[in-house]
């Protein structure tokens, strides 16, 4: 399956990226080359093979719910691009 420029545009939107025309053209070409290479995996019969999500086979690591000190406000906002009244400030969500 080969990807078209419009597919790249769609995926960029999902990934919250704006692409220039030049980037879109380049990524279309490069993603096609990479995905074509990935077609190689179809040479293998994987029916009945369990997927490996994780080599340690851990699941649902739990701990006791213990109250601990949390971060100070000063630390939480140290890197905030914009802050107001102890909150992260962002532009309007809806127009």
């Amino acid at each position: 399956m080969s990807i078209q420029s419009k597919d790249v545009e769609y995926v960029a939107k999902l990934a919250r990226l704006n692409l220039t025309d030049q980037e879109r053209e380049k990524f279309t070409e490069q993603l096609n080359a990479i995905l074509q290479y990935a077609e190689k995996l179809n040479e293998l019969d994987t029916d009945g093979v369990e997927p490996t999500t994780h080599v340690l086979r851990l699941s649902n690591v739990m701990r006791e719910d213990v109250v601990q000190e949390s971060l100070s406000k000063e630390k939480v906002f140290r890197n905030a691009p914009e802050e107001e009244d102890g909150q992260f400030k962002v532009p309007a969500v809806l127009e």
Binding site: Q30, L31, T52, N79, P91
Partner: protein, 484 residues
Amino acid sequence: MTLFDLSLQELHSQFRSKELSVTDVVGEAFTKIQERDERVGAYLTLNEEEARAHAARLDDKLVTGESLGLLFGLPVGIKDNMVTEGLLTTCASQFLSNYNPIYDATVVSKLKLAEAVTLGKLNMDEFAMGGSNENSSFHPVRNPWDLSRVPGGSSGGSAAAVAAGEAYFTLGSDTGGSIRQPASYCGVVGLKPTYGLVSRYGLVAFASSLDQIGPITKNVEDSAYVLQAIAGFDPKDSTSANVEIPNYVSALTGDIKGLRIAVPKEYLNGIDPQVKAAVLESLRVLESLGAVWEEVSLPHTEYAVAAYYLLASSEASSNLSRFDGVRYGVRVDNGGNLLDLYHESRSQGFGPEVKRRIMLGTYALSSGYYDAYYLKAQKVRTLIKQDFDQTFQKYDVIIGPTAPTTAFPLGSQVDDPLTMYLNDILTIPVSLAGVPALSVPCGFADGLPVGLQIIGKAFDESTVLRVAHAFEAHTDHHKQRPSL
């Protein structure tokens, strides 16, 4: 001969006898950085004032005769994707160019506990994506053995700093070969521990099912000491393994009689003839020490790179969604709404390789393609892991080259991502299987270092280190230094 040529034990004994001070050793590190780093480019941020103050505090401690931490007084450089409280941590990305962490990664806390002195933060491929360090959004790193060539990546700064004598040791991170491949290109020792052995808390996530932190050092003994200091269960990392940590230094017995080595034929096919010759010569050295080796097959090797790029990019596309310009990082606000802010901040903050992988991963996870790409790759990962499991039923270690070639010239592969990805063909299968592997210098080809990759069973770093140490004791490749 420099102070960095002294072994850890020699340094510690000279500290105790007052022949040397920590201030001397840290001072020499900054002198080397001053002399060389303009050409090498290993560092992004220096921690000079604090490092010198720390050295002075450690010297005070020497007077009182207290017991010394495991890595007491050793100058360390840290890859810039591990957070350091109050010290800029950029992941070599414009997006995080102003990021001042509010806590220390667990490995950083452990280094402090062991009394190592942090010199600064090391250059890398942006968000650890790349194999040449050319994807740093600040400046490339150059290979100390030949400044026209790459140091490898993504831990290029970490490997180059040790090779250039700009740090006693460094920490790197490895997702598909990012410690081992640059260690091979720069002629130093790089260890990727078993997945889960070293805490990832405070490591900026790239591909969470693969990422692992490990040491880059100038010899195997140092690697064992550093691993000792950083390994162990961490409740703050839910993928941390709760296993007993052995004494890695005491595993370095020099005895490998009867060791059973598997050499995958797939790892010797199609590689540079001089690299192959160095590996075969290394096997003769190991044979002379009483080991036996046989050729084996890891039949799914050729599928590893394809599976890896789908899995790692998918995980990256998810992990990097946190970089939205709201809570930290560089925000680009062109007066639009919140969605515009996300788009602008990410588009301007990320470089081309990061965007490419986010795009690939988003596509592979998107509706209608998940089974064909992501799930298929996870199943192939199982087959690759089984190759290793089966081989380790009969053999103690698997040995081959670390990379198919030596370091390549800067700029020679930047426009061809697929070719660049294939440099990792010998390190990626190991990452997918989650087992430990170490690259140790094993020769030179046209003046450039070659690395031997020693792969072990899960959590059997002791054997990997023992074999590498025995090999090193009978060769002198690791003692060569670049002329800079």
